[in-house]
Structure formats: structure tokens, C-alpha cells
């Protein structure tokens, strides 16, 4: 009963914030609503007994991606001009397509007999995740570091100011 109440509170936070992100006409409101969506998702992760992943989500999404997005919003827009800052076109067709996709998925969710395990495991997950990263998933783990390095270098190269005189020569 308590778990259900907590779930619905977190779901309300997540869905409400996502709605503001999707429908707000002000890009700054959208950006800060993203914080609520991420925090709600962190709570959902905790409810699903994924303690380590919840903390990773908090560190990477809220501490990294969100701050980066706020920086980008502040650096680019004429954000004082609210009417043009978050222009949205073709809202009606987009709404119809999203609603149809959601309806199809709801139908699929309730029609499919999902395979469920006999027991539910609740406990610290860091030991198992650490073992899996160094054992079964060692190669993807190393590949991830290469991806991150490439993203790092790519971001620096792309966002560097263009030297027009060097281009003309």
C-alpha cells in the first residue's frame, strides 16, 4: 500500500515534468522541468531495487547532462524572447502519432503474457554489477571507454571557433 502510494507520487512527478518538457512554450521552463523528470525516474529506479543505477542516474543525468543542457540554453538563445524561444510546429499531427503509438504499446503491454521470475531480489547490487563488468561484460566496458574518449575529442573539435582565414588559404 505504501509502495503504491510512493509509486503514484513518483509517477505523477515524472509524467507531470515530462509534460512540461514536451508542451511548454518557454525553453527555460522545459529545461528546468527536465530536472523533475530525472528526479522522478531516480525514485522509480530506487523502487525497482536498483540502488547503484539510481545513483549513477543522479550523477550523470542531473549532475552532468542537465547542467550541460542549461549551459547550452543560456549560451544560445535570445531566451528573453519567450514566444520564439521554443517554437513548436505541427502539434496536432505529432499529438496524433504519439497517442496512436501509446495506444498500440498499451495494447501490447496488456496482451503479452510477460515472463516473470519466481522470486524478486531486493538487496545491494554493487557486488553483482562489479563482477559482471569485469567478467561477462569486460569487452563492452572497455569499448565504452573508447566511445567516451571519442565523444570528448569530438566535442572539443566540433565546438571550437572556426578560423575563417585558415579556411580561405
Amino acid at each position: 500500500m505504501v509502495a503504491q502510494a510512493i509509486f503514484y507520487l513518483l509517477a505523477l512527478l515524472t509524467v507531470g515534468s515530462s509534460a512540461v518538457v514536451a508542451f511548454s512554450r518557454n525553453i527555460v521552463h522545459s529545461t528546468f522541468a527536465l530536472l523533475g523528470a530525472f528526479m522522478g525516474v531516480v525514485g522509480i529506479y530506487v523502487l525497482l531495487a536498483a540502488d547503484f543505477v539510481a545513483m549513477v542516474q543522479l550523477l550523470v543525468y542531473v549532475g552532468g547532462i542537465l547542467v550541460l543542457t542549461i549551459f547550452a540554453v543560456m549560451l544560445t538563445q535570445g531566451i528573453a524572447d519567450v514566444t520564439i524561444s521554443n517554437r513548436a510546429v505541427a502539434r496536432a499531427p505529432a499529438l496524433v502519432i504519439s497517442a496512436v503509438a501509446a495506444a498500440v504499446m498499451i495494447f501490447a503491454v496488456f496482451k503479452t503474457p510477460w515472463h516473470q521470475g519466481a522470486k524478486v531480489m531486493v538487496g545491494p547490487t554493487t557486488y553483482g554489477i562489479g563482477n559482471a563488468f569485469l567478467d561477462t561484460y569486460a569487452l563492452p566496458f572497455e569499448l565504452a571507454s573508447i566511445v567516451l574518449l571519442a565523444a570528448l575529442i569530438g566535442a572539443v573539435v566540433i565546438s571550437r571557433p572556426i578560423d575563417r582565414r585558415a579556411q580561405e588559404q
Partner: protein
């Protein structure tokens, strides 16, 4: 199952968030707004992974995949926002309708 919550609770929540992200990606004309929609979609996928990991008998594969998705989302956000800033330096706008230099 704990507290009367079932797998379907989490799946429905995740698909609502997914639909919002889809709407955001399709209707926004601000490049950063589109990236925010992508983040919503990735978060909904992560909820799915963790829900199936939790109700599927307690293996760690779902959680590992979630961590990889978070890592790739960070890389995607970094490169995407760098591209947005580069476009802004060049065109003074990040409206995706204005960036048509490549359409012949």
C-alpha cells in the same frame, strides 16, 4: 510482488514518458528541445530495462544495460550540444528549419 505493484505499472509509466518524448522530438523546432525529447525517450527505455530486470528473477543484465544506455546518453548529449553550439556560432540560430545549408 512487493506492495501490490506489478510489472505493468512500470511499463505503462515508461510508455507514457516515451510518448511525451516522441511528441517533443516531432514538434519542437529548437535543436536543444529535440535533444531533451531524446533524453526523455532514453529514460523511458531505462525504466523498462530495470522493470524487466527486477521482475524477471534478479539477474544483473538489465542494470548493466541501463548503465551503458546512461553512458551513451552522456556521450550523445555532449556531441549533440557541441554541434548545436557550432551551428549557433555559424547561423546565429538553432531553429532546425533554418539549418538547410546542406539541402541542395
Amino acid at each position: 510482488m512487493p506492495g501490490g505493484l506489478t510489472l505493468n505499472h512500470f511499463l505503462v509509466l515508461s510508455l507514457i514518458v516515451f510518448a511525451m518524448g516522441l511528441f517533443c522530438v516531432m514538434s519542437r523546432r529548437n535543436a536543444i528541445g529535440i535533444l531533451m525529447g531524446v533524453e526523455l525517450i532514453l529514460n523511458s527505455a531505462n525504466i523498462n530495462y530495470l522493470a524487466f530486470a527486477f521482475y524477471g528473477g534478479g539477474r544483473y543484465d538489465g542494470q548493466i544495460f541501463t548503465i551503458f544506455v546512461i553512458m551513451l546518453a552522456a556521450a550523445e548529449a555532449v556531441v549533440g550540444l557541441a554541434i548545436v553550439l557550432a551551428i549557433y556560432q555559424d547561423l546565429r540560430t538553432i531553429d532546425v528549419d533554418a539549418t538547410e545549408t546542406l539541402s541542395g
